[in-house]
């Protein structure tokens, strides 16, 4: 397993040499990377991007170091994970800022991919990003009081600081939490906010941004522009998701995604939970590929736990097999519904879903649930394959799926209507794809052969032979084709992993030691990232040695890939919005978290 926090030492020392006063190695035990002077952040990031090749800003997030003890050193830390788009480990920068009146320079002008992530940090932590072009709330709404991820903020249904709650056991007093804090009494509003008079349609900040974008757009003929809201309740948005679009005729002038309708503050829940409890919650992020979600979280925690949580060989193989089956099932869904969006109404998606069903049968037999698999544990997997499932996987991977993926390919890939509808639509150049921190199929369809399984291998992926799939046009058609390519690539990996599975059909050890209901995680930070079906899925966790994570952050690929949506759409027709959105392949459970 490669530790993502060990970057190439040459650049690290170079960074310290170039900025001797502004860069300090993070000396806290269990931590890595550099603590950087706030005032020098932009300068250092520019040097990183332009001179050292760290052109991919994968993750931006904040951590609240807070204790209500007197004289405690309280501050907010903003954490940046930089990577090279040519592969390798991370370079982690950290900036510290006081909790009251936190200000950090924005990196959005340098790395446009930081846009939504900084907005999220502003929204949830109240960190102000100086120089951010469009700093407003992103997941919460304007009528929300406070910054919910701060440690001293308490939710309406607050019971105790951390689980398990005392009144479940030993006290045993059953009640419904909503009876204690009934509807309409569970809300707080910011000062001066009028909840009755507020209408979503006159959200002033959103429309101001759209107007500003429109002023930059110049046309010869002076026409009146209109604002159209696509969604939130619209089948083409794949969930509860809204796009505010400013149109000049049929041409898109500006587009701003509005999200957070499904926001449940997954990360806050994660910090109240114990380490083990978070595993089933990760299933609910991207509910179409729960095994990959488990994978990333297990990796992040195992990194902190060290060798005592190293999974046995068979478990590693099972993890890879399950993750690749998940990728196939996710891409079947994505391709099916992209074709749906393109106008091939439901027949192709149902053909695709049929195969997905057979994969889900395997998940159900192994894990007990079709979608909410909850299969990974720290140091292995929950249980071995039941009788007959190994043969089932073999049948599917060696016989049925190759045939069916070919059929899906023949079915519509060469269809002239599909091609003329999708070729040249929503083009993203490789430079843009990297700058906007897109990940997964969106990045690779733009000609950037970046796949974490190869660029920064985890688990046992370095043992398999596979080509990193890449397409070069960066349009909707290539984003469709790359998913078909990747399904074949996953089959290639599966065909190597299944015969090599130690123990084969007979079974074997799948847990390192016992599977305790409470785990001890040494203090420190770790970032575990996997190549999920939708892109880089990362978990940034901070442990303070207690039973619950001090910080639990999800780098959600669907969410960050949406940053590029406006770029894809501006200048095109309004009808292309749906197709472009479909080609990103989002799941709102993960976007909103």
């Amino acid at each position: 397993m490669t530790d993502a926090t060990t970057a190439a030492p040459v650049e690290q020392s170079e960074l310290e040499k170039r900025f001797p006063d502004a860069v300090k190695a993070d000396a806290r035990p269990g931590y890595a990377g550099f603590v950087v002077e706030t005032s020098k952040l932009v300068e250092i990031a520019t040097a990183l991007r332009d001179e050292m090749g760290y052109d991919y800003l994968s993750s931006v997030t904040a951590v609240d170091y807070y204790s209500d003890a007197p004289n405690a050193e309280n501050f907010i830390e903003v954490v940046y994970h930089f990577y090279k788009s040519t592969g390798g480990g991370a370079l982690v920068l950290k900036v510290q800022t006081p909790r009251d009146n936190s200000v950090v320079p924005s990196l959005t002008p340098l790395y446009p991919g930081a846009d939504f992530q900084e907005r999220e940090a502003y929204d949830l932590y109240g960190v102000n990003f100086e120089g951010h072009p469009d700093q407003r709330r992103i997941l919460m709404w304007e009528g929300f009081a406070g910054h919910p991820m701060r440690k001293d903020w308490k939710e309406a249904f607050y019971e105790e600081e951390v689980k398990p709650f005392k009144n479940r056991w030993p006290e045993g007093q059953v009640y419904r939490i909503e009876d204690r804090n009934p509807f309409n009494k569970n809300n707080k509003y910011p000062q001066g906010f009028d909840p009755v008079g507020f209408k979503e349609t006159d959200d002033p900040k959103l429309y101001e941004v759209l107007e500003r974008a429109a002023r930059e757009y110049s046309e010869d003929i002076d026409t009146e522009q209109v604002v159209v809201n696509l969604g939130p309740q619209h089948p083409s948005t794949h969930g509860v998701f809204r796009m505010a679009v400013r149109l000049d005729g049929e041409t898109i002038v500006a587009l701003k995604p509005v999200m957070g309708y499904l926001h449940r503050n997954h990360e806050k829940i994660g910090e109240r939970n114990t380490w083990t409890m978070n595993m089933p919650f990760t299933d609910r992020l991207d509910y179409l590929s729960s095994m990959s979600n488990n994978f990333g979280y297990a990796l992040a925690v195992e990194k902190l736990m060290g060798d005592k949580a190293a999974p046995p060989e068979r478990a590693e193989y099972l993890r890879v097999i399950m993750a690749e089956l998940t990728r196939i099932s996710n891409h079947l869904w994505a391709v099916g519904f992209l074709l749906n969006d393109l106008g091939a109404f439901f027949t192709p998606s149902l053909y695709a879903i049929q195969e997905r069903e057979l994969i889900l049968d395997i998940f159900e037999a192994t894990t007990g649930s079709r979608m909410m698999c909850n299969y990974f544990r720290f140091g292995g997997v929950a249980r071995d394959l039941p009788e007959g499932v190994y043969a089932k996987i073999k049948d599917l991977v060696f016989e049925r799926l190759p045939r069916k993926i070919d059929e899906l390919d023949i079915y519509l890939s060469e269809n002239e209507l599909v091609r003329s509808r999708s070729e040249g639509v929503g083009v993203i150049t490789p430079e843009e794809a990297i700058a906007f921190s897109t990940a997964g199929p969106v990045l690779r369809a733009s000609g950037v052969p970046y796949d974490i399984r190869r660029a920064d291998p985890y688990s046992i992926y370095d043992r398999f032979k596979f080509d990193v799939k890449v397409r070069y046009h960066g349009d909707v058609y290539d984003r469709y084709m790359i998913r078909i390519d990747e399904m074949r690539q996953s089959l290639d990996i599966l065909k190597q992993a299944i015969p090599d599975l130690p123990g084969g059909a007979a079974g074997g050890e799948v847990m390192n030691g016992k599977n305790p209901y409470q785990v001890r995680v040494p203090a420190g930070e770790s970032y575990g990232r996997v190549e999920g079906p939708k892109g880089e899925l990362g978990y940034y966790i901070v442990s303070n040695g207690k039973g619950n994570p001090a910080r639990y952050h999800v780098r959600a690929p669907s969410f960050i890939n949406l940053t590029v949506l406006e770029k894809m759409c501006v200048g095109q027709k309004v009808a292309d919005v749906v197709v472009n959105l479909g080609s990103i392949d989002i799941v709102l459970g993960e976007v909103d978290r």
């Binding site: 398990p164 053909y351 069903e357 037999a365």
Partner: protein, 224 residues
């Protein structure tokens, strides 16, 4: 040729269309629909044609590991009395991610020590996320995940907090829905009991044969 791609695609649809009739003809005289065999075939790798299952007339069989809402297992002793396996140790309540388990314990009025059997046991099934942790981590095999997924009711406020009575099911039911797991656990238990009995017997024998305290321990047997 322009339009070839469309024709190829339509050929795929046509084969699917024809397959559904060919399959029906192949199954003439046997039941492709509304039969166990037919459903099994439709979920196999060779399935062709009509794939859907007409719920609720037809139901997919659930695999053994399927999990939906926990239940409490009780044994029935020789006199026909229910013996709860649960000792109200609270591990299920402590590991439950959405915290939907409440256990009411009690203590002996005379000795003031906790009574192992729970007075009551609640699961709010609206909150339960069917993760299966309670069953996985229970050291006494007392809580298991059910297979019964049809539990709609008219009033969630009145009916969706299950109490101990509603949750309790006999071990025979558990053995019926999860035979492999049940047998594995029973063998393990039998082995452990045998080991314990052997250890106890050895201890008793040693105590009987033990020389008075203070003398050196007996030499290890040379053979065996």
């Amino acid at each position: 040729m322009y339009g070839l791609g469309i024709l190829k695609g339509m050929w795929v649809t046509l084969t699917h269309f024809i397959d559904s009739y060919v399959e029906d003809i192949k199954w003439l005289g046997r039941n492709r629909y509304y039969s166990k065999e037919g459903i099994q075939h439709r979920r196999s790798k060779d399935t062709k044609g009509i794939f859907t299952v007409q719920y609720p007339e037809e139901k997919l069989p659930v695999p053994e590991e399927f999990r939906f809402i926990p239940f409490l297992v009780y044994d029935v002793d020789a006199d026909g009395n229910k013996q709860d396996r649960c000792t109200s140790c609270g591990i299920c309540a402590k590991v439950c991610p959405p915290q939907c388990i409440w256990i009411v314990r009690t203590e002996d009025p005379v000795t003031k020590r906790p009574v192992p059997e729970p007075v009551d046991f609640f699961v709010d099934v609206d909150i339960c996320m069917n993760c299966g942790y309670c069953a996985e981590y229970c050291p006494f095999d007392a809580i298991k995940m059910d297979h019964d997924y049809e539990m709609a009711s008219f009033d969630r406020h009145a009916e969706h907090i299950f109490n101990k009575e509603k949750l309790s099911k006999p071990a025979s039911y558990y053995a019926g829905i999860r035979p492999t797991n049940y047998n594995r656990e029973e063998t393990l238990k039998a082995e452990e009991a045998a080991k314990k009995a052997a250890a106890a017997a050895a201890k008793a024998a040693a105590a009987a044969a033990a020389p008075p305290a203070g003398s050196p321990p007996p030499a290890a047997p040379t053979a065996g």
